[in-house]
Amino acid sequence: MKDLIRIRSLISAQVETLLNQQVKKEAYSSSVYLAMASWCNRNGFDFSSDYFFKQAEEEREHQLKFYKYILDMGGNAISPDVSGIKQEYNSFREVFEDALDQEVSVTQSIKNIYAQCLKEQDYVTNEFLNWFLKEQREEEYKARRALELFEVIGEEGTGRWEIDKHVGKIKYDSEA
């Protein structure tokens, strides 16, 4: 009996489902960052607003990377529904706390797909995921650094204005 399923698709149904969930997660991240860009802009934090616009675009790229990979491997990529995006924040700091939470949840989710691929010996998908693991290093670093600015600069006086200015300069350039 021919192995008709493997002929059609490199990835298993389970991995395909997980990758589609990740597509949705990246799309959700992109929308969350867009809402953050709006909030920051409305409240006078222009550097942070720009920072979040850039993040939103990056998340969209991540979404497409997963989406195209599923299709290239013979799977069915599903365009996700995204809803329930938080539009208002109680404070400038809360925006960055949420941003870090979001990145941590993305890292955990990718680790979970990686674990499933190892279980199935799907090293091809693992190799694809390596790019994202490295990316999450940077994403978590930047989100954590932004929150750190609240500690080292402090919010009193012109603190928030100063923090905003420094958010625009956050960079991660580890070559390791």
């Binding site: 009996m1 021919k2 192995d3 008709l4 399923i5 493997r6 059609r8 149904a13 069915n76």
Partner: protein, 122 residues
Amino acid sequence: MVTTLTTPQTNTWVDVFATKKGAVYQSDAERCWYVDFAGKVARFDYRCLLKLKKAVYNVDIEAKLLETTKDPDVEIIFICACDHTYILTLLQIIALKEILEGTFVMLQLNQILQDRLYRIAV
């Protein structure tokens, strides 16, 4: 094209999985499967078989059992872009689900066998 037969062509098809209620066969030549269930033998290609699986697995059997409304307990399994529609009772859905579960286990087993016998260098 709707391909519905009344009797399985068992001479060219391979048994994948069967219960007393029905069976699934594979045709290597046509690269498809035939599902013998509810009085008909229906042809499914790769995409459609996955859609059938999803449609059947998505029926919330427990919720249906607990339902107290007087509605007849029939479920319409309509598979988008495929040629087949099933109108099934709850018991038939349970039976079809059992057949599909068995089918996918056998197909997975077949993949493992193909890997071991022909694909992996030893």
